[in-house]
Each structure stands twice: as C-alpha cells, then as structure tokens.
Amino acid sequence: MTPPDQSPLPFGLAPEQLPHVEIRFRVSSTKMGSGFDEILLRGNGEVELAAAVLRDDPPQIRQGSVPPLAVLRLLQLLAAEGLEGWDETYPAATRDYVGKVIELSFKEELIKRVAMCQTEFPEFSRAYGAIKLVASLAAPEVVLGGLFNRI
C-alpha cells in the first residue's frame, strides 16, 4: 500500500517546493467588453480571487488562505487527472466562446498552461471542480455567489 503523501506531484515537483508554486485559473469570454473571473492559489496557502464584470473595470479582489496541504492535494489531483499530458490549447469551434485557462507556475516561471475553449473533457472538469472547492475553503462566495459570474 502506498504510504500517505506519496501520490506524485506534476512535473517532478517536490513537496518542499510547494511554497513557490502557483496555480491560476481564469475564465473569460470573447464577448465585447467582457471581464474575467480568476482564482490564484499559492503553495503557501494564500488564495486570491479577482473578478471584473467588464474588461475595463478594476477587478474586485478577495484574499484568504487555506492550509498548504489543500494546495498539495490539489497538485496531486492535477497530476492524477493527467495535467502533464494535456494539450496547451483546445481551440474554440465557434467565434464566441468562453475560455478557461489553468496555469501552473514555479518561482514565477510558467510550467504548464492549458487553454480550454471548447467543451471540457472530464479530467479537466474534475480539476476545475477541485480548484473551485479549494478556493471556496478560503472564500465561501466562490460557491455562494456575489463575486464570480463565470466560474
């Protein structure tokens, strides 16, 4: 049986590197003037939410925190769902679309960026749901409404 905490992290990351990891999830649409919703999770547990209703609006920002273990588990889930093997872009089939972007960075250097502009595949959706839940542990409005309109 696998001992606890032995589930691999993606891209060969080690648990001790966690404080320098960032996971960013952004949803926006191509509609004229449309804004965005964004979740930023840092490996040290800091959570930052940003939402702009319109493109030129200053974003509303919320900050909170989760135990770093929650971010570690999220990384393990991303690895288990196959993040490393996903394409960088899943292009839209139509002109107007919603784009969902997951970015993984280490020491501010981008490791992986996945832009989903078509119907999500299940592994991507599971990652999306997990990111949303972790963010909601820091800021319940993620699932209660009042901040995001797209996530």
Binding site: M1, T2, P4, D5, Q6, S7, M32, G33, V53, L54, D57, L69, A70, R73, L74, Q76, L77, A80, E81, T119, E120, F121, P122, E123, S125, R126, A127, Y128, G129, A130, K132, L133, V134, S136, L137, P140, V143, L144, G145, G146, N149
Partner: protein, 170 residues
C-alpha cells in the same frame, strides 16, 4: 460604431444586472446548515466485469471521510478514514447546488454492454435526497466538477483518495 456606443451606455446597467444575478441556493434539497450532521454523501464506482469489486468514498456532514476499496466482489474491502472540517463539507454541498445537482437526471444509462458506473448519492438521516447513476463513458462537465471537488475534499482527510492504486475506479 453605433453598437459600440449603445453598449457603452448600457454597460452600467449590464454590470448591475450581472451583480444582481440570482443567488444560487445555499445548500441543495432545502437542507439547512443545522441538518448537516445528518448528511451522508457517497460516491461509489463499480464495473460490470464479472467479480469486479468497487470503490467508495463516504463523507458525512460531521466531517468523517471513509474510503473503501475491494479488488473483487467477495473480498472484504480495505478501508481508510480521516476527518475534514464540517464547514468544508458545507462548501462541497454548496458547490453541488451551484453545479445544479437538483436538476440532474437520476440515471445516465450506458450505451454499451460493458461499462463502469459512478453513483453519487446524498442522504439525510438515512433518507435519500438524490441519487445519480452515471454510466456514460464521458461525465458531463457539472457532474465531473462535483466529482473533482468531492475527491479533493476526501483527499484532505485520506491521501489515498487520489491514489489510483487504492481507488482504481475513481
């Protein structure tokens, strides 16, 4: 250009309308926060292969997480357990509500003879509130969002929730 002008005039109204967008139900099935200790969320996965076992994640409203996995049908399941804060279970249920669990069908039948099934159920004091039997090869996005969130929460208590060697069907 005219469209652009009209759009800009309408932007404040649009912004207000978006901000006033209907709030999602806080908890699904008219559950009240005080009822959370009586809630049990179960995700079970099995296949139609003869003698195949099943994997199970059980999360109670009080925060108890149990993983059960049996390799083949008659084998006694291996079990892991741990706890998460009850508030985290509340967030999970709120996420289910936001994803529209109340409007999902009860069954998404398979289109082939051999298939795997995921069953997501929510009970309150032993009374089933909703059960979704999903046997399609591809989960629909809202269902997969819920599954991802549930697995992540279970993994806060038991890291094996993300280990395919322990829960190969989930």
């Amino acid at each position: 250009m005219a469209f652009s002008t009209v759009s800009r005039r309408a932007l404040p109204l649009l912004a207000t309308a978006v901000l006033l967008r209907a709030q999602p139900p806080r908890l699904p099935f008219k559950l009240q926060p005080s009822q959370l200790p009586g809630v049990v969320i179960t995700l079970r996965a099995a296949t139609t292969k003869q003698g195949s076992g099943r994997d199970e994640i059980i999360i109670t409203g009080a925060g108890k997480v149990t993983l059960r996995a049996s390799t083949y049908a008659p084998a006694p399941p291996q079990e892991r357990s741990g706890t998460v804060p009850p508030a985290a279970v509340e967030r999970l249920l709120e996420l289910f509500a936001l994803e529209g669990i109340e409007t999902w069908d009860d069954a998404y039948p398979a289109k082939s003879s051999h298939y795997s099934t995921k069953v997501l159920s929510i009970e309150l004091r032993g009374i089933l509130q909703k059960q979704i039997v999903h046997s399609l090869s591809e989960e629909f996005p809202a269902f997969a969002h819920a599954i991802g969130a549930l697995k992540l929460l279970a993994a806060q208590a038991c890291s094996e929730a993300l280990d395919r060697r322990f829960l190969p069907r989930l």
